[in-house]
Amino acid sequence: MTISSGEDPKTLLEIRDVGFHYGGVWAVRNCSFNLAEGKVTGLIGPNGAGKSTLMEILSGFLRAAEGGIFYQGEDVTRVGPVGMASRGVVRTFQDTRLFARLPVIENVMIAAGDQRGESAFRSMFWRRSWREQELGLRTQATELIEWLGLSSHIYEQAGTLSGGQRRLLEIARALMARPKLLLFDEPTAGVFPEISQLIATRICEVAEQGVTILVVAHNMGFLEKVADDVVVMAEGKVLARGSLDYVRAHEEVVAAYLGMPRMSKPVGE
């Protein structure tokens, strides 16, 4: 039985029996778990477990074929990416997706919501209405870029950055949107350990400010630093949830990762 959304005041997002299939092949099925407000939850699982598909569903890019998603008590199962973003759900991508020909600072500034200067009329004929806001955003973006150690690249085209710098820029861009729920899809994939360390530190600092974070990662050392608890997925389902030590010792998790036959022990915390 699932908990009704809204009963637990600390639940920001509830995923209830969610399922999604690609042409008949179920990538996610009967997937249920909650995200507590202000916590960092790790999402791990072997390749093909459905983690990235779940991220797509949560950010509104894919629509769940069954089950429901409740965000702050509201049913958002059928809400698209624009609607999710306007509710404060912001994501990064597994393969970094930047605006390659835009400078780093513009990549960050674009993420801020409610920009008055995005009106075509104002942009051409009424600059005074947005100029101050623009300067404020520019200062914020500059500070964010400095905070993530990219200040020497601030005016470079994003396409010229290295893999680790791209990850940092994606994080800066996501934070510029003032998220309530951050979905990180493998933020340290292919990243130099020092930058991975910086990312972990920054994620912890952001979480301390009260942002709820769901982070997909394969790097257990990274998750140890950032995650309050971990959800393990395999074959589209949740296998286990708990502390990293707990899931490490979980027989079904070990079996899923190492490809051994399943144990009959019931799944759960």
Partner: protein
């Protein structure tokens, strides 16, 4: 003298078209292969609004002898509306890559419609005798071209000025972000097609204005003036000049359309005249290939316009914020 005036005037008209295409393709990545069709719509509408009743044996709609500036505005509005229809048929349903195909279809549909429908713009014969907008019937062609250069140059200046304003604004940033990656823009809560619709119709408006000035200059318009292949030259001008750079289109229009087209007149003649014309098109094609190979960003790359690099942030103290992350530090934060 007339040659120079003609060169400048046609250069300005082509540059207005290029400014419109640059907004669509350079800023937003919308490949409008029918850009010349919107110019033609502008030319026809400006023509029939300023012309009188069709003489015996011909027929066209309108014929209200309105002032030229009404014709100019009507041309822009008609081209925008046509652009809106094409856009709604394509973008809302298809990915923007397919807009190119839809615009080619639209170009052929309009071309065949204008050719076949005698009642619309007199079919294949087209409209003729569009009145001079200055000087009446006493003015010489030379004087008229010189006078027409003033409003045409002014329209070009306004188009470039608007392009510059858009480029430097958050709207321009949004357009360029959409060009780079629509998916990410959606992930940050923007309705991508809203900005695409606005810039597409604005680009078509500019093409319509160019068409109006064209018909005011040559005083006639017919289907032979806007063969669907003509759009290629404007696209080539924008790509060679530099996509995304508002000066690039202008430069491209003068260098490619005027420069290559007109200066090749001085090349030694060979073979049939048709061969010579084909040779010019081939020359533009080779130029396009060379630019794409050796300078893919064009002669004036967009990155040259990163103006803010040289501008220090000068903010009033009241606007300064606390150190980031700001994500949840204000009243609208995540703890709410």
């Amino acid at each position: 003298m007339y040659f120079i005036l003609d060169l400048l005037l046609l250069g300005c008209i082509n540059a207005i078209m290029a400014a419109g295409v640059n907004l669509q393709y350079g800023y937003n990545g919308l490949l409008n292969v029918a850009n010349y069709t919107f110019t033609a719509i502008g030319a026809y509408v400006a023509g029939v609004l300023t012309l009188g009743k069709a003489p015996q044996g011909t027929s066209w709609i309108g014929g209200w002898s309105l002032p030229w500036y009404v014709g100019l505005l009507g041309a822009g509005v008609a081209a925008s509306l046509a652009g809106l229809i094409v856009f709604l048929f394509s973008i809302r349903r298809l990915r923007s890559d397919y807009l190119a195909i839809v615009t080619v279809a639209a170009a052929y549909i309009f071309y065949n419609w204008a050719t076949a429908d005698q009642g619309l713009f007199d079919g294949g014969n087209g409209i003729f005798g569009v009145p001079y907008i200055f000087g009446g019937s006493t003015i010489t062609t030379n004087e008229y071209a010189a006078l027409l250069l003033i409003p045409t140059g002014a329209i070009l200046a306004i188009c470039v000025w608007l392009s510059r304003r858009i480029f430097r604004s958050p709207f321009g940033r949004l357009l360029r972000a959409v060009r780079e990656d629509e998916v990410v823009v959606k992930a940050f809560g923007r309705k991508v097609w809203h900005s695409q619709l606005k810039i597409y119709t604005l680009g078509c408006f500019m093409s319509g204005l160019a068409g109006a000035m064209f018909v005011f200059y040559i005083t006639a318009w017919s289907p032979s003036a806007f063969l669907p292949g003509e759009s290629f030259f404007i696209l080539a001008a924008v790509i060679i000049g530099g996509t995304g750079n508002y000066w690039g289109g202008v430069l491209g229009a003068f260098v490619v359309v005027e420069g290559l087209n007109e200066l090749t007149r001085y090349l030694p003649n060979f073979g049939y005249p048709a061969d010579f014309g084909a040779g010019r098109v081939m020359l533009i094609g080779v130029g396009l290939l060379l630019v794409l190979r050796y300078r893919p960003e064009g002669l004036f790359p967009e990155r040259w316009l990163h103006w803010y690099e040289r501008r220090p942030v000068t903010l009033p103290v009241t606007l300064r914020r606390r150190p980031l992350p700001t994500a949840v530090t204000d009243a609208e934060g995540a703890n709410r």
